[in-house]
């Protein structure tokens, strides 16, 4: 398990990086924390001609609040978020998600940008940030654009990046007071890839809710207007109104044929809903299941 030969460069500024990305011959891979790319290189699942290390670019490590949006540079690590080294507009929700990603050594190096671009269906940020309504900011030598995250993630390990384009930041809207939030995942053991993820963001006052089901071997399943999962209406009593059969129907429609898988996903989603109905925890829980 040793990588095939590749060239390695570590540009010092974004303009140089985007130039190299636009002009390099052959297959190019960007490396941030390398927590997924490293094993894939070693297993020769990818054999790029050039690896561009993006961790030397200060802009990509930046975190800032712009109005009611948190902007996290692509190279912000899971541990930065877990430990509170970046601002927070979610009442600790991001830190709780971050704290349950894989193992601490992975969190020390793994980045939010790398996770979103890799788009592993079992990844925490893919599902949780779609539920929070995040956007991604993309840059190329020719200019910049923004995309809602659920439009960016097009499938398992598949995203809407154009040639020469890269993700520079995630833009995460504030979780306003009064908005209920629940995030639960199920792993065979602590730190392993999730087998089921449920994320819910519910505004009981306005009757609006967004439900995302992740770790389903394709892009997360988004129920943007989630009333159908709550007997047709979302209100302050949403937890009691949650309808597991409707959730099961959503999974059937999405083509999930294994009844055991559906049962586990519905169970996890139900627990995310229940969590959303409880006051925000003061301490950081790890994932629900052992």
């Amino acid at each position: 398990m040793k990588p095939a030969p590749f060239a390695y460069e570590r540009p010092a500024d974004l303009a140089t990086l985007l130039d190299r990305l636009a002009g390099a011959e052959g297959q190019v891979k960007l490396m941030a924390g390398g927590q997924s790319l490293g094993p894939m290189l070693n297993l020769r699942l990818v054999e790029p001609d050039l690896v561009l290390d993006i961790t030397g670019i200060p802009e990509l490590r930046r975190a800032a609040v712009e109005g009611d949006t948190l902007v996290l540079g692509a190279c912000v690590t899971h541990a930065d978020i877990e430990d509170g080294r970046v601002p927070d507009l979610t009442g600790g929700a991001l830190a709780r998600v971050a704290a349950a990603i894989a193992y601490r050594p992975v969190r020390n190096r793994g980045t939010i940008g790398g996770s979103l671009v890799h788009a592993d269906p079992a990844a925490d940020w893919v599902t949780s940030l779609i539920a929070l309504g995040a956007e991604v900011e993309l840059a190329a030598a020719s200019g910049r654009r923004r995309l809602p995250l659920d439009a960016f993630v097009t499938g398992a390990l598949d995203v809407a990046l154009a040639p020469g384009e890269m993700l520079v930041a995630a833009r995460i809207p504030a979780l306003t007071p009064g908005t209920a939030w629940g995030y639960v995942k199920h792993c065979a053991k602590i730190g392993e890839f999730a087998h089921a993820i449920g994320a819910v963001r519910i505004e009981p006052e306005t009757g609006r809710g967004r439900v995302v089901i992740g770790a389903i071997e394709r892009a997360p399943l988004v129920v943007a207007e989630a009333g159908r999962l709550f007997g047709g209406r979302i209100g302050p009593d949403f937890a009691e109104r949650f309808d597991p059969r409707a959730a099961d129907g959503v999974l059937r429609e999405a083509g999930m044929t294994d009844a055991v898988d559906r049962h586990v996903h519905v169970t996890i989603l139900a627990r995310a809903v229940a969590q959303a109905a409880r006051p925000a925890p003061s301490t950081r829980p790890v994932s629900e299941a052992a």
Binding site: K2, P39, H186, V260
Partner: protein
């Protein structure tokens, strides 16, 4: 004398508590825990090059051609080059055994994924992998047989065509089963354990170089049995043993995986002879998981006959073991199944027994002996069927066990398969573990229910572990390795230190500490001043190595014998120095004490080596260096045992299992170092939890293993392994030095059964019984949903 060294120097512990029974921290941990261990992968030899293997991507195929690009012709070697190498043959002497020949590089066909096809040599492993990637294989895929019951059917694809079927060996024992058939209770179950990969942190690895001065091929390989590797290499390569030196340095976990002669070892030795410079192969995790480390896969159809009060009348069993494509050297393809027939009764005494076994060839890696070997599967089958008897009889599971355990007044006891139990009080172990886990409190808590919706359950498991079984047992199996007397060397250094030499290996067992404790018990030399020389055929007496939980019994006994002889010689020299009659002198705490004075071992050693003019004229010319041999009074093995009790909480909707409490009452006879024994139990428990809940390699219909990384092959981690509560009993063996028993494997034997029984205790009210290990989350949810559907269907009907 000025050069005498104080006997209390060293680890800081007072002299009196360093001998047998002392809870000493391990000496070797100072280097191992600081990252200063020296493993095969740490060797750097001038001019060394790396090997990557081309391995079969198919489970079963005919080899049409192997195309090597012209540019790599002198860097790539195939079976066509290895014309002078014999295949690996591990033949059992049991009647009817069919012989497999494992070519070290596949010749006409491949019989498993990962089988070796070509050696690629380059300055680095990455470059060797580049060469391997450029080689084109022309293989004609054949139907693969990867499921052992299907492999037994007529018409199944044949792994070895000339056999006519896929059965390495079939055996039958029948002891009066017909007498049990009228029992009022008869329960039958199909019980099985999945295929695992034992997973030491360090994989296999081999570095070979030529020592021209000694005219030797020096093979550095992570091995539990360097002398057996030398036998095997000598046979395959046709090289006399004197020209082979096997060195096993620090080994990062063995568990049986390093008690096997791998085809890779033979290839590397051949290659070093061919190219003349040092060569290295370090197994990577993909090779380990897909090509080599298979173990454990058993299938049982088992029936228990019992009285209504739980007393067993008899056991009837058909057991199948998936032995994989080849017979592994030296333990063979049938050791597991042959063991199943003889050890299935476990610690229980009943009057009728029948067991039929099949060792089946499939297109999978050869099955290798993993810590506990057949015992883990046997214990799983027996303990689960006992719970089924309890359910059928309406009794507590512990009642059924209490009714059937061998009793202390029966010791020593020959059981129904002629296993000779040396000593022990099994019912007491059961009683103690029931008290520790507090059965009544658990039952009350179950009646109350859990606030979080989970269900809790209690599971028991009891086993006995035959260890250090010797010549009389292994000669019957007729495999290439039969242990005889074990030898050890003991030598005093001129300054009074002690060197011990053993042919077995220490790879986690703590022998550098515990054998020094044995020596200390006899000679009084501080543990810190005793060094263990091992892992090198050039420097140690022959030994079959470290396996079968045998080393403390065998090498410990040999060290004691050597130290005793050394002590007698020292006593005679000391008596002369004291001008006393030897009969009036005694050995005490590292010194010879006479009627009017004493003299230290260091002074005696100084005299022997450096002032021979002070010795008596008739001094024993053998001096202060002894090699002595040892065998217990009976070599049928020691019987250690334990009762395990697990308390779990099961989430029926997710299948998640949390271990709330885990109690172990174990009896390993006299314990040389209880701390080391605790460590063995902790490690074994972790592995047993892996077997119970997580570890499994599954295969697709073409025989492809579906786990090739640790993302797919799950091992329990710190969050999954609780700290068990351990209680030691200490019933000495009547046959061994100090009364010690082998305990190395027991921790891994009982947990799968204890945990499965606990899960079933939790889920029984739902109508669920889990009879396959690992009891994975998916399997639990699947069973719970099926049970709920059955209830719904019944209610509708």
């Amino acid at each position: 004398m000025s050069d005498a060294i104080p006997l209390t120097e060293g680890v800081g512990a007072p002299l009196l508590i360093q001998g047998v029974g002392a809870r000493l921290p391990r000496k070797e941990d100072d280097r191992l825990m600081r990252g200063r261990g020296q493993y095969v992968g740490d060797l750097r030899l001038s001019g060394m090059q790396d090997v990557a293997f081309v391995r079969s991507p198919l489970a079963h195929a005919r080899i049409r051609a192997i195309h090597v690009p012209e540019a790599f012709r002198d860097r790539v070697f195939t079976a066509a080059d290895l014309t002078d190498v014999q295949p690996i043959r591990a033949v059992s002497g049991l009647p009817g055994f069919k012989v497999s020949e494992q070519p070290v590089l596949a010749r006409d066909k491949v019989r498993q994924v990962g089988e070796l096809l070509a050696i690629c040599l380059a300055p680095t492993r990455a470059e060797a992998e580049d060469i391997a990637a450029a080689i084109v294989l022309d293989l004609e895929e054949l139907p693969a047989v990867h499921e052992m019951l299907a492999a037994r059917e007529p018409g199944a694809p044949l792994v070895h065509e000339h056999w006519g079927d896929n059965v390495f060996l079939e055996t039958l024992v029948d002891v009066n089963l017909s007498a049990a058939l009228d029992a009022p209770i008869k329960v039958s179950r199909t019980i099985s354990t999945g295929r695992q990969c034992m997973a030491p942190i360090e994989g296999r690895g081999t570095v070979v170089h030529l020592d021209h001065r000694m005219d030797q091929l020096v093979v550095h390989t992570a091995s539990q049995m360097p002398h057996i590797v030398r036998n095997g290499l000598s046979e395959c390569l046709g090289i006399e043993q004197g020209r082979l030196r096997i060195v096993s340095p620090d080994v990062g976990g063995g568990f049986g995986y390093k008690a096997i002669l791998l085809a890779e070892d033979v290839c590397l030795a051949w290659l070093a002879l061919r190219v003349g410079h040092p060569v290295r192969w370090l197994e990577d995790r993909r090779e380990h998981l897909t090509a080599n480390a298979n173990c454990r896969e058993h299938h049982y159809r088992i029936t228990a006959y019992a009285e209504r009060d739980g007393r067993l009348r008899g056991i009837d069993c058909e057991a199948t073991v998936d032995s994989g494509a080849y017979s592994a050297y030296p333990f063979s393809a049938c050791l597991e199944a042959a063991q199943v027939a003889s050890i299935l009764p476990g610690p229980y005494d009943f009057p009728a027994y029948r067991c039929r076994t099949w060792s089946v060839a499939t297109n999978k890696c050869p099955i290798l002996p993993y810590r506990g070997v057949a015992r883990t599967g046997v214990c799983f089958a027996m303990e689960l069927i006992l719970d089924a008897v309890a359910t059928e009889a309406g009794l507590e599971p512990w009642v059924v066990r209490e009714k059937n355990l061998v009793r202390p007044e029966q010791m020593p006891f020959d059981n129904i398969t002629k296993k000779h139990f040396d000593s022990g009080d099994y019912p007491q172990a059961l009683a103690r573990v029931l008290k520790a886990i507090d059965v009544e409190a658990v039952r009350a808590r179950q009646r109350a229910g859990e606030a979080d919706g989970r269900r809790i359950g209690l599971g028991l498991s009891i086993y006995c572990e035959q260890a250090a079984h010797g010549t009389s047992v292994y000669s019957g199996w007729g495999i290439p390795m039969v242990p005889g007397h074990e030898q050890a060397g003991a030598r005093l250094t001129p300054d009074g230190g002690l060197e011990l030499r053993i042919g077995a290996h220490s790879h986690g067992q703590g022998l550098e500490t515990t054998l020094a404790q044995v020596a200390h018990e006899i000679l009084g030399v501080p543990v810190a001043r005793t060094r263990l020389v091992h892992g090198d055929t050039a420097m140690t007496p022959y030994s079959t190595g470290s396996w079968g939980s045998r080393v403390m019994v065998m090498a410990g006994g040999a060290v004691a014998a050597a130290c005793r002889e050394l002590g007698e010689r020292a006593l005679r020299i000391g008596a002369h120095l004291l001008q006393a009659d030897p009969a009036a002198c005694r050995f005490e705490a590292g010194r010879v004490v006479g009627p009017s004075g004493d003299v230290t071992l260091a002074q005696i050693a100084h005299t022997w080596y450096r002032r021979p003019q002070d010795l008596a004229l008739d001094v024993d010319p053998g001096g202060l260096e002894v090699t002595a041999g040892y065998k217990p009074q009976r070599d049928s093995g020691t019987f250690s045992y334990a009762a395990h009790a697990a308390l779990v909480a099961v989430d029926p909707d997710l299948g998640a299992v949390e271990i709330l409490d885990y109690c172990i009452v174990e009896d390993g006879g006299t314990l040389v170092n209880p701390l080391v024994v605790d460590g063995q139990i902790y490690g074994g428990l972790a592995q047993g939890i892996g077997t119970a809940l997580y570890e499994e390699v599954r295969f697709d219909a073409r025989g492809q293993p579906l786990a090739s990384t640790f993302a797919d092959y799950l091992l329990p981690g710190p969050a999954e392994v609780p700290e068990p509560r351990i209680d030691h009993m200490a019933t000495p063996s009547p046959y061994t030095q100090f009364g010690v028993k082998g305990i190395g494997e027991g921790g891994a034997i009982a947990p799968p059964a204890a945990l499965a029984n606990a899960i079933n205790d939790a889920l029984r009210p739902l109508g669920v019984a889990m009879l396959h290990a690992p009891v994975s989350q998916h399997r639990i949810v699947e069973a719970v949903l099926a049970a709920r559907e059955a209830v719904t269907a019944r209610e509708a009907a």
